[in-house]
Symmetry: D2
Subunit: 349 residues, 4 copies
């Protein structure tokens, strides 16, 4: 029987793409009531003005965080950019649970955070309480957490593909090469020249080579499983599409492991995970087959280099890579079905 | 309280885009059980092979219509191309209700059908029973219909914008000019050179000028309301996007009508229609704001030509323009909430 | 025999798309030496940094206009935004000829300029000297002009299609409806939310309905030919492509004129114009068939409304709609072959 | 002084994208007269019908190869698909020189050809005469060749990036991983479902993993330089753009080599090659910066994995990856400036 309890939610950063997709999904969740939309620069504007596609929703206008009566909020979905999230979250009453989609609570070491994100963390004591929100791997911790730090979009796609393999010692922790491709929405809604239609359209190029901020997060999680520090190659590319993320991971096989063994291990690992789908042999993951959904498609392929294999994963960067996974974590935290509010099938074409 | 009855549905033409979107939506409708997927050329294949994005659904493999036990089917969703639909539907037992998305039952005059669709209609007697499925305007007839002929994508966008205005005598029936723009999925999944990515990408051009098959359908419905034959200009264009349809209608104002009066009439006409949204003044309909949803956004604008106004409507050609409206009609036919299974908000970006 | 004289050119506004295409074309013109690139906000930067695709050219770094020795410049190509161009051009020595791509010298009446462009014109006395640079229609005046004001992209496409018809009294000046569609580069390189890839991609919508700044320019030129003031409907749309512009013009036939007569008149009018091509019957103009070239393709089509016809024109907004036409005017001004430096065929796909 | 000799050229396969780009470029080459366009399936049609963007050219209509008087042809540009080219070329008189863009004369071992291309080679004796047309590396051989087998698009981008490094022993021949991304035009104009706009648009996926036909060609050339057989990982991806190819090559550094040393070696190697450009440090190759041009941009980047480096190359698959390189080879064969007819700058945006 369906639960009838209602959780009151506020969305921090409601004017960005992450916030918009959070609203899109949460508004249709049967047990969520969105009570506040927070976006400093847009305070006073109705949602329909900021996001016309959400104009049919009857929701309060956008406000600043000062204008909120926090005693009437149960949970906060954080869609602020990294660096601005930690201060806002530190101000919240302890009674409020937080599902944060920013990078601010993902790295366990505040020094690493300061090094990669260019500034001191203002609430290092909260980091300890935060749980890394890769749902499929940390369900139990998430259930009890006050703060869930949802993984970045790239780490989600990479870790879902590689964590079970490293854990099972089927691949080496050395020499992992990840060639990642993302749609432009991954860069957010802030005005930047390289994400103009005329600049990004009909073109493809790598960016952040060797220094993308998702590197330490991936290395932290792989290292935790490997038992020692892991260094990876991670090379993201900007592709001319709005949504979608594809990670092509080139891995070295451990011992006598084969591509087939990798596939089996992944299938076993995600047997009870409704959103991770190991594609049939002969099928290849493609971003257009997960668009708009919370699914992650993973495929394993034989490499011509005998000691290696190729693991490919595809997600929608704004859904499984952000707002969808946040809602999935919310469901785990509050004891709902993991798929609740996330039943939408991919939109293709 | 939610109804618990289950309607058993078969999808005809399950390998096309219309069929795919029908499956995508019907699979999540709480009162529909999809019992058969029919696609002659793909019989024997699992759905995941034909549409990998639907691979998570546990549905029967595709079959030919001969392989169906029709006694176990309540309703058929028809997604076949025009010209092939009428013969298939004529073969169905009378007990089965039909929601057809093809053009085969839209035109009331079989001669007009033969003239525009290049072939005799094989079941003219069924045309009489068919109801034109523009939900917002024919709810009552649809409720009782055995066969509902869902409008084409263009007619849906045009008629939702113009029918109430013509009915209220706010615009003239003469000199209606409709400049329409459609995404490439409107051309279907059949292989044709002009819809290759390299041909349609980064380009825009009109097509079917003066002879697009949606013309007689629009003229039939406008004429029914005007009380006499109506001739229109309808000029569709192919735009480099997958989904979406925008109709810019240039209309002559009747008597002392003004753009403001048109806006009011439309707002009044759709007050209780959940999917038709008259956008605020200052807002402009855009296909990206309805993508993936069953919404139709309509705006009215002052023209520099004093005697004229501009009415703009935007839909997703595969949802409100096809499968979504079909499901909406299904809901009306079976007494469900009109929005059931159609709650998905637009996917933006 | 090819002329060997060399004209020294400066490009004003070298950091925008118009400036970039001007450099792209001028750099390959056999009789042009680019001696200065001016862009206030980028002074000091090498061109390769501002436009990596032009990195192979050995050109001086960008400078401010103060840094130029104007005595060494023969001609200025103006690529500044409207409103900033007139002041810069007013400062130039009289000996310098100007091919301006901004809107600042297009409107003959400074009051109309002030009304539509929101500010007084600082050099109204120069307007008198300026010639409207629609090459095919004003060659003789352009030859002798000091300042040539190149038409906007939309006016170019519209006027090439309609001027000869209005002049020949084959169409009425009343009730002209122009539904125009442009690629995103038409909006320039300045950061604006609506031209982000994630906003404009996979979407289509009208903008500037009834008040686009190209309206007075079109009305001025149509009025000059009609012999009295002309009011038009002009409704531009933003389409998800980088380059390209398509104008679908709905016109009322005068007297007994027919679509065939219009086609003949256009063909006759442009018989000796190398860049304007009246497409064969059965062929439809498409932006992807003129991309990257200085061509304008025009087609005429019968309308279902008997008293009307449809004239469709397609150009590349940055070439024939801007930098290409500027170079064409330069050729006319200096007595070169009109096609010199503009021989590039369209880039398709 | 410019040469005035005229070479008479025929284009085989004039109805494909490769043929079209060959015509586009050759038509503007000052020393080429296109005397015949051959395309079996389109014989009798004017070029304007097959490729409207080339409609302004006054060229003979398309014909079959039987209809040609080969005594009046000096050179053949071969744009046929692999497997059909060798038979046509074998029939040509010995006096005709051939620049072939198909795969049929690239592999020196007919057995390897049969294995990868699924059929016996009908003219193995001609393979011996054929020279591999990677212009920058085989200029001298090309000069004297009767048949030049232009490299595939991927091999061009990969070999330009890696050959000098392997030759200089700066990288290991083992463990080369190439993650390649191509625009859709690389798949040709033949109708296939996966290259429909609605399938490929807004999506990204790998294909031909481990078995793409360009593998043996890359391995052959790398092996020739390494002095022993080389096995590589080559994983191509289909990206939602029409033109452009980006290869991200992950290489193991040999001895004490560094990314800086690789950069220097490449710069030295291509110092006198006008089309290969090693981008400045801090700049990243991007397909949109070479589009429509014959340039190849290459960048070298430090890897987080200490023993590795990343070499990125970008080309336009139809120009440097096909027709442009063919014309460059033609220039070498006939003693023209290597850049003749290839001066077009990239088209951006």
């Amino acid at each position: 029987m369906a639960s009838t309890k209602t959780i009151k939610a506020a969305v921090l950063g409601a004017s960005g793409y992450t916030g918009a997709d959070m609203i899109r999904l949460a508004a249709r969740h049967p047990n969520i009531e969105i009570v506040a939309l927070i976006a400093k620069g847009h305070a006073g504007q109705p949602l329909a003005q900021v996001f016309p596609h959400l104009g049919s929703l009857e929701l309060p206008a956008l406000v600043t965080s000062d204008q909120i009566d926090w005693s009437k909020v149960d949970v906060v979905f954080g869609g602020l950019p990294h660096g601005t999230s930690h201060a806002e979250i530190a101000k919240l009453p302890q009674s409020i649970r937080v599902v944060d989609m920013s990078a601010d609570f993902r790295l366990r070491d505040p020094k690493t955070y300061a090094e990669w994100y260019g500034g001191e963390h203002s609430a290092p004591e909260l980091i300890k309480d935060a749980v890394y929100g890769l749902t499929e791997h940390y369900r139990n911790k998430i259930k009890a957490a006050r703060i869930v730090a949802c993984p970045g979009c790239y780490p989600t796609a990479v870790l879902l593909a590689l964590l079970p393999l490293l854990k099972a010692k089927l691949i080496e922790a050395e020499d992992i090469i990840i060639d990642a491709k993302s749609g432009v929405s991954g860069a957010g809604r802030t005005l930047k020249q390289n994400i103009l239609f005329s600049e990004a359209g009909e073109g493809l190029s790598p960016y952040g080579i060797g220094n993308h901020r998702h590197v330490p997060e991936i290395e932290q999680e792989l290292g935790a499983v490997a038992g020692s520090a892991v260094t990876i190659n991670f090379t993201p590319h900007l592709a001319p599409m709005s949504r979608g993320e594809l990670c092509t991971c080139y891995v070295r096989l451990a011992g006598k492991a084969s591509a087939a063994a990798l596939r089996e291990a992944l299938a076993a690992s995600y047997e009870t995970s409704p959103f991770v789908h190991i594609v049939e042999e002969g099928t290849i993951p493609a971003t257009q087959h997960v668009r708009g959904s919370n699914y992650c498609h993973i495929g394993v392929f034989k490499d011509r280099l005998e000691s290696r294999a190729i693991v490919v994963s595809a997600i929608d960067n704004l859904v499984k890579g952000s707002a969808g996974q946040a809602l999935q974590n919310f469901n785990v935290m509050y004891g709902f079905e993991e798929t609740l509010g996330l039943e939408q099938l991919p939109l293709f074409p």
